[in-house]
């Protein structure tokens, strides 16, 4: 008995190995092909090192006097992220409930909302920013709208999936009390998804801060404008200061958001 089981296990082991080799070589072939297509070239990277060093040399030392000029842009960056995230939170709560199978009023609504959310998610903040700069003019408001729409797509999709994953038990219990549809959602569903939603919203704010630092590239406010301006004017010492400020800002935001999320979950 044991002998035959051992034999079977040995056979299964060979099968596992064959399968792993097949998949592995397949993946390697695909990767190699794409590498030649997009021109991955380590030699070019090595040849480029002196140029990079030259570039960094021109940036060093950062022009710290430029810091004072960046103060307003830094504050603006944070403000864009805050408002973009707040609008996204407000929009995504109803959208998530309409776009979750178990809370949607109709299956057609569900599909339409999911389509909308996928569209919002697939468009990058910078692309949205280009559109809104054209629509509402240069400045931070365009940036706020850009971040709000993209973040809504992400946040609402995530929240809808959380809603679909809730424990059915409390929902059934609420239905059994004679509660109406909305009451069942408010008491049976919402409390179950609040922690994950808040945690993800905080994470989204962190992502929005990073996005807001580059929106200025297309004229939608924040630090990105100084970044592109000083680069175009070859004021590399000041560009370095911008990068430094962005780094510190993202670092602080990341640290803060991680702490908040750890407390919630």
């Amino acid at each position: 008995m044991t002998t035959s089981l051992l034999a079977e296990e040995a056979q299964r082991g060979t099968q596992r190995l064959t399968k792993a080799l097949l998949w592995g070589s397949g993946a390697a072939a695909v990767l190699w092909f794409t590498a030649t297509q997009i021109g991955l070239n380590p030699a070019a990277l090595v040849r480029g090192v002196p140029f990079m060093l030259d570039f960094f040399g021109r940036m060093f030392p950062p022009d710290l006097a430029h810091l004072a000029l960046l103060r307003d842009a830094t504050v603006e960056t944070v403000q864009i992220a805050v408002w973009g995230t707040v609008i996204a939170i407000l929009l995504s709560i109803p959208l998530a409930l309409l776009g979750a199978r178990n809370t949607t009023p109709h299956i057609v609504v569900f599909h339409l909302i999911r389509l909308l959310l996928n569209a919002l998610r697939s468009i990058n903040e910078l692309v949205f920013a280009l559109i809104f700069v054209a629509a509402v003019g240069l400045g931070p408001f365009a940036g706020v709208l850009a971040i709000a729409l993209h973040a809504t797509g992400m946040l609402a999709k995530f929240c809808a999936e959380e809603v679909e994953g809730v424990d059915r038990g409390p929902v059934e219990a609420m239905q059994a009390t004679g509660a109406g549809r909305l009451q069942v959602i408010l008491f049976g569903v919402v409390p179950q998804v609040v922690p994950a939603f808040v945690s993800y919203a905080v994470y989204r704010f962190d992502v929005s801060i990073r996005a807001a630092t580059i929106l200025g590239l297309v004229g939608a406010g924040g630090l990105g404008f100084s970044l592109i301006k000083t680069m175009k004017l070859f004021q590399y010492h000041q560009t370095a200061t911008c990068i430094l400020v962005i780094f510190v800002l993202v670092f602080i935001s990341d640290w803060l958001c991680a702490r908040i999320r750890a407390r919630i979950l």
Partner: protein, 248 residues
């Protein structure tokens, strides 16, 4: 009769066997009725067909001389308190708020939007908690309680509906024997005090004997026994528990 179940059948879509076939039971007011049977006998389906959490395929349920229909489901459901095997409390809400959800059937959606309840509801909730000796934990979160305590809170939630009937679906299946007896004791006591009719699904014979004023035995969706605890002999138990095991 407070409740008359007449020829109730239910076949779930895609199922080969009906979950309920032609079940008829009449329940007088104030009775503690135990529905006994193995897992899959149709006990849960029966309860859910009574308060229309599940729509029966055929047959009818008459509650206080009125046929229960899909119209005005709210008014009907709040007359039936329900207690579940997994307690089904909303874990992140306080014990008090959980009991207050028993009042949702009486309150407007607008007010619920703010998670607010009137003073009179809070009074009812505290009284219900006191009946199961849980008022000292009113402000704790529901998930800080033990299983037995959670089920007592769930009983309080059902009582807050001021129901005529309590449907208890395997209320002690997740509890150890000592706590199970205690919880069933509370259920029997409050039902007696308030004159509430109880339908209690159980799969353990000894609890059924101990707590059931009357026992209905179910097997494979049908009623195979209906009588007093004293009449629950070996023959009957074989019919309930073993006749459904197909040969082999």
């Amino acid at each position: 009769m407070v409740l008359e179940i007449k020829g109730l059948s239910k076949t779930y879509p895609g199922a080969a066997q009906p979950a309920l076939s032609d079940v008829s039971i009449s329940v007088p007011a104030g009775q503690f009725l135990v529905i006994l049977g193995p897992s899959g006998a149709g006990k849960s389906s029966l309860m859910r067909c009574i308060n229309r959490l599940v729509e029966p395929s055929s047959g009818e349920v008459v509650f206080q001389k009125t046929r229960i229909t899909k119209a005005d489901l709210r008014a009907v459901r709040r007359q039936f308190g329900m207690v579940f095997q997994q307690f089904n409390l909303v874990k992140r809400l306080s014990v008090l708020t959980n009991v207050l959800t028993g009042r949702l059937g009486y309150r407007s959606v607008l007010r619920s939007l703010f998670y607010s309840f009137p003073e009179s509801d809070k009074r009812i909730a505290f009284e219900c908690l006191a009946r199961v000796n849980m008022e000292h934990k009113a402000f704790q979160r529901a998930d800080t309680l033990s299983g037995g305590e959670q089920q007592r809170v769930a009983i309080a939630r059902a009582l807050a509906q001021e129901p005529k009937v309590i449907l208890a679906d395997e209320p002690v299946a997740s509890l150890d024997p000592k706590i199970a007896r205690q919880v069933l004791g509370y259920l029997r006591q409050v039902a007696k005090e308030l004159g509430i009719t109880v339908l209690c699904n159980l799969h353990q014979v000894d609890y059924a004997r101990e707590f059931g004023e009357r026992i209905v035995g179910m097997s494979r969706g049908s009623v195979v026994f209906d009588g007093a605890a004293g009449d629950l002999n070996e023959d009957v138990l074989r019919k309930i528990y073993y006749d459904n095991v197909t040969a082999g």
